[in-house]
């Protein structure tokens, strides 16, 4: 037991697992932070424009769910900030001056997002309809810019730029080049589109279940159609972007690309493997399309594709099968979601109707889970594919990991806590929706959400005053 603990403490595997699970959890909530406001504002737009009560009700309820998810996301985001230092002091100590810059910008956008989520939640009743709608717009903008900032930090790890080292010490930094490193435009677009797909398909999935159960009223149709449209618009863009990004990875991080596509030796006419497990240099249970990988990389079967034999074994990523299968899963789900969106688009184009056949609704109900799986698989490809480097070709993970013992313990605690947080972030909206369906309007009004306005009973006690303080910041509990 002691020996096992020693091995665990000595290797970066527990730290990597902890970072991976924290990121994998946070990223789902982050998607809602980035994209849910746009979905909600669309519903509100329809509601105001057409005087549609169902759309307005959807928007109001979605804003409450948004509050819960932003609350949990704030916590899991704080965990990540801590973990940057707790797990990777070797990275932050050496390169904090560079990689910290995008994070600082993200702080501003998060602040803005927090302020306007507050205005949006508090403003439902008294603000004029369009003023309230506009108060949500900064959430959409800040969400996207915040995502770009954070992803820029990750891109920098894949494609470090804008710094000079002398004797292993960072001596100068060019903040603009750090932020706009070669990978930023690709990764950031990919992630923002992914956020819209995850949010769109997950929310649509909830209402697809309602439609399947026979709740075919306008409320459920709109609740399905609005988020599904967002996801459906993002899906084809994502598939196109994915193709472009794969070529960028092939040129920028060829070893990662080799692992994604099972390219052992640098050669021409490289086959494209679909599925398959790599064992001792052989691919089992996979189908290969001759020369297709070369065609995808360079539009010609004679394109030379770099294999992982180009670097010594110690610099190749581990778990090649995991990387390849995750990549295939992501691409496969991307096409599945594209097909689903195209089917509905076709039907809408010719019939101006929502598809309500179970053949469509069952996959649509699962589309959100699929989108999450695709996004997680994509992060596995990016992160595991970069191994053994934490900063590509600059710093090894093994040199960045904390020498502190105790990471296996925190890993266990984090996993347990995230199980609870998962229950919260799924359970709370579920409880809310059950209440929305069964209970009287009065009870719905009495419900509280984090950051939400206090219920009526609170103001009944004292003179009707403004809420204690605007949520975000400089007023503490003591209002300015």
């Amino acid at each position: 037991m002691g020996a096992v603990a020693h091995v665990l403490a000595a290797s970066p595997v527990p730290a990597r697992s902890q970072m991976g699970s924290s990121l994998g959890f946070h990223i789902i909530l982050a998607c809602f932070g980035v994209a849910f406001a746009a979905v909600t504002l669309t519903a509100e737009w329809i509601g105001i424009r057409r005087g549609d009560a169902a759309a307005l009700l959807l928007a109001r309820r979605w804003s409450k769910v948004m509050a819960v998810l932003v609350a949990v996301g704030a916590v899991s985001g704080t965990v990540l900030s801590y973990e940057m230092g707790l797990l990777w002091p070797g990275l932050m100590g050496r390169f904090g001056a560079a990689i910290g810059l995008p994070f600082s910008l993200e702080g501003i956008f998060f602040f803005l997002e927090a302020i306007f989520v507050g205005v949006y939640l508090y403003g439902w009743r008294r603000l004029p309809a369009w003023a309230h709608w506009w108060s949500g717009v900064p959430i959409v903008v800040a969400g996207v810019l915040g995502a770009v900032s954070v992803v820029a930090a990750n891109s920098w790890m894949n494609s470090p730029a804008g710094y000079t080292l002398s004797h292993g010490k960072l001596t100068s930094v060019d903040p603009v080049s750090v932020f706009f490193n070669a990978a930023t435009p690709y990764e950031a677009t990919h992630m923002v589109l992914a956020a819209y797909m995850v949010t769109g398909f997950l929310v649509a999935g909830v209402y697809a279940v309602g439609l399947l159960r026979g709740r075919r009223d306008r409320y459920h149709r709109l609740g399905f159609a609005i988020p599904f449209t967002w996801g459906g618009i993002a899906a084809p863009l994502q598939v196109m972007m994915g193709d472009v990004i794969a070529r960028f990875v092939a040129s920028n991080q060829p070893v990662k690309f080799a692992a994604m596509e099972y390219v052992a030796r640098t050669s021409r006419e490289v086959p494209e493997w679909l599925g398959g497990v790599l064992i001792n240099g052989h691919v089992y249970l996979g189908a290969s399309i001759p020369a297709f990988d070369s065609i995808l990389v360079g539009f010609s079967p004679h394109t030379r594709v770099v294999g992982w034999d180009s670097v010594p074994a110690a610099q190749r990523p581990p778990l090649v099968s995991l990387i390849h299968l995750s990549f295939d899963l992501m691409v496969g789900i991307g096409f599945f979601l594209l097909a689903l969106a195209a089917w509905q688009a076709w039907w809408w184009w010719f019939h101006r109707q929502l598809l309500v056949t179970a053949w469509f609704l069952v996959p649509a109900a699962l589309s959100g889970v699929a989108a999450v799986a695709a996004m997680e698989a994509g992060w596995v490809v990016t992160e595991v594919g970069r191994q053994p480097w934490i900063v590509y070709h600059v710093l090894l993970v093994g040199n960045a990991v904390t020498p502190a013992s105790g990471v296996p313990v925190t890993l266990g605690v984090i996993l347990a806590l995230y199980a609870v947080l998962t229950v919260v972030s799924i359970g709370v909206p579920m409880i809310m929706s059950r209440r929305w369906r069964r209970e009287t309007p009065a009870e719905e009004d009495a419900e509280q959400v984090p950051y939400g306005p206090a219920p009526a009973r609170a103001s009944a006690a004292g003179p009707p005053g403004p809420p204690a303080a605007p949520r975000a910041s400089s007023g503490g509990p003591e209002a300015p």
Binding site: R60, V75, L86, L101, F103, F110, R218, S473, P477
Partner: protein, 393 residues
Amino acid sequence: MSPSPEAIAVAAILFVVIAAYALFGGADFGGGMWDLLAGRTERGAAPRELIDEAITPVWEANHVWLVFILVLLWTAFPPAFAAIMTALFVPLSLSLLGIVLRGVGFAFRHTAQRLRMQQLTGATFAAASLITPFFMGTVVGAVVTGQVPVHPAGNLLAAWTSPTAILTGFLFVAACAYVSAVFLVLEARQRGHQDLAGYFSRRATAAGVLTGALAGGTLAELSVSAPRVFDRLTGIALPLVAISIAAGIAVLGMLWLRWYHPLGLRATAAIAVAAVVFGWGLAQYPYLFPTSLSLAAGSAPTASLVAELVVAGLAVLLVAPGFALLYFLQQRRLLTAADTDADLRQAAQLGHALPGPAAAAPAPGRTRMATALVLAILAIRAIRDALSSRRRR
């Protein structure tokens, strides 16, 4: 080598943010502690409700300050950040545990009302409010006493379990309880709960006296464990320490005289806390870790420091209008509890839309088919052109 002006500027901003976190985050944590100490369910109902109302709207903001502290530290002073995070792995992990548990308790407690889990989630929230400031205090204590090596080989138990560090932990807890109780007095009065104002006034006085005693004890300890910091605290930083003590006594006097002036009481309590934070900063200058890591040796390249200053400026530029808007809307009483969704529910369930322009009628099938064909042909041509042009290259 003396530190660059940029490094000093960023360090000053860092201490402003720390003071903000001590004040707003501290009040937040303190609220959780008073929730914990409010007694049995029936007896503690009224104070708990007040605490809940006061904390709910501002809960997340306090995380933003903490995140800013972390980001500033790792961008502007990376070696210090890495060393602190390594040597003080244990107390930092425990403070993080507190933050997560608070979040879980907070997010769930409102929804849990009908699940009879409210007590459990409430207790989680309250207990976590105690854990986080205590361990953050031990971290600060370890840094001040110079117990954090520049290149730690692992986590150091001794660094944060010294008498000074433990005392600092208790000092943080007491200070949070004190700040929070002062603010809650005003929150209670604002809502017209005179009895609760008295309730929190008594607690603020007790916590204030305790905080003062602990601060004195910590200072005495520092004279042994960190003589240089002690010398500066009683030397160049003495005015700040004196201001803090004076403000602390003034708050106690105001509470004693029941002179609950909303701005005056808040500002005085804030000064008491902020002055001591700035005093700490001044006492450590010019060291990040007294006396092993100087500000000059531990700061990032100038461009990063300037970038942080720009970011700080941007934060003020972008966030200030946001707050101005919030304040304006709040003053006009436009931000208020939603009355009811009943009208919308009714309209939505009856299924008739309010009058408005109807949805556009679908175009005739043939037109749509033709448009689709044209679009498809255009798309195919575009792709073919793109491919052929690349092949030529």
